[in-house]
Assembly symmetry: C2
Homo-oligomer: 232 residues x 2
DNA sequence: ACGCATTGTTAACCTGTGTTAGCCTCGACT
DNA sequence: AGTCGAGGCTAACACAGGTTAACAATGCGT
């Protein structure tokens, strides 16, 4: 990346903004004129169902960028709310569009970033579709751990996690009560503990085995061990 | 789009290629040097699990383009197999990368296309996470119908669908047997019939009500009817 | 310190979905 | 025509997970 590109990227960012927890930053179907970088605090993107239920798609954590995609589309296809108080850096759509013309190369970088997001959503889909409640929860904890470790927010197999069991249920496609049961089981089996907004992984190998979790680097290998079936 | 851009897009495409059904075009973890446009035939993209299960992510149908994303990343995060015999148009990665520099505007178009894909995956995640078997199946049928209608492959609430119940199960996160039960129920309730590779929707209003399905155009409205809950 | 709201925890019961096992149908091949 | 295999269909049973209903902790505001 050239100096000019970098300085442009810096210019793109507005002043950090503090928002309360539970604030809906983007409403589904709304025109998405703004993207945000999360400097601190957690959020969740989700879709509501006609019956009032909801499915959480992902949890942006500090360092993550959201809404870039919906800037280009007319509207956002899901809502976004903060889970905790947060500091965000808004990015204006107009400037991003200008950037696309000025520095085409950055467009590719952006495409790369959105691809990473999509990979996470796909993994989430696999979890919900084909893993049972405990595997799914274990997988979720491991993924969160790896993501947070990457930005220095997890150490020693321990990290802060401001989610409650209701939110967890909406993310994992389970009922609150069952989340509670599963967490208890993880505790009893001495794999991981979720207490007072802090997750501690006691036995990371055991947890990975349970979840069928492939660390980002190993992910290529594990799949080949699976029994291969043909495509139809 | 300028004439020059259009002709460039045409140049990009190689000769159509005929492939057998059940052919794995992309293997998970593989470097994705090629993208494909499906001219005819169906495919499915999926992830395999260590225990041999799989989750189907999406079904590319004629007119769809796949693999553009994984060309930019080092590797593809999921596999792709044909479901039927198919005619595909391969697109070379090198030429696409060149295109990005030459016509930055097309990069945005590409980003737009991948965003549409992602929206579909998100909807799939919502289905699997928060709809029960019959709602999920109904939703799937409706989505397929709308997609195929768009490319002229569905008419009169009827369309060809070469998927068997095993494949359906892997897509919907259900067991084969349960897919069978659900299809029977849809038939009995005179909502839709899946027979001899052909899906017929008998009562589209009823099916939409059951699925909580929002047509692409109406999708903005329906969600606001849901009971709103705050973001945490 | 008190009361209230939020979140966590547990038990009992019920239902949706998975599992196992088998039979039927149809088309492809010999 | 007969065999074989793939895919569809059904039934009986088992179990994971959902539902309902309490109650216990915790934290917050007054």
């Amino acid at each position: 990346m050239s100096k000019r590109e970098l300085s442009y990227l810096t210019d793109l960012q507005s002043k950090p903004l503090r928002v309360d927890r539970g604030k809906e930053l983007v409403h589904e179907g709304e025109a998405g004129q703004t993207a945000y970088i999360f400097q601190s605090g957690w959020a969740c993107s989700f879709k509501l169902l006609p019956d009032g239920g909801r499915q959480i798609i992902s949890f942006p954590v500090p360092g993550d960028c959201v809404g870039l995609r919906s800037m280009l589309l007319r509207t956002s296809d899901h809502s976004l709310s903060t889970v905790t108080e947060a500091t965000i850096i808004p990015i204006q759509a107009a400037r991003v569009k200008h950037m696309f013309n000025e520095f085409p190369y950055l467009g590719t970088a952006l495409l790369w970033a959105t691809s990473r997001d999509e990979a996470m959503i796909v993994e989430h889909l696999v979890s919900v579709g084909r893993r049972n409640a405990i595997e799914r929860t274990a997988h979720f904890i491991l993924e969160l751990h790896d993501r947070l470790e990457l930005v220095g927010l997890a150490a020693d197999h321990k990290f802060h996690c401001p989610l409650n069991q209701y939110v967890l249920a909406d993310a994992l496609g389970l009922s609150t009560i069952h989340v509670n049961r599963v967490l208890r089981q993880l505790r009893t089996r001495e794999l991981a503990t979720f207490k007072a907004h802090e997750i501690t992984i006691h036995n990371i190998a055991g947890l990975k085995a349970l979840a069928g979790y492939a660390s980002p680097e190993e992910s290529l290998v594990v799949v080949r061990d699976g029994i291969e079936r043909d495509g139809f």
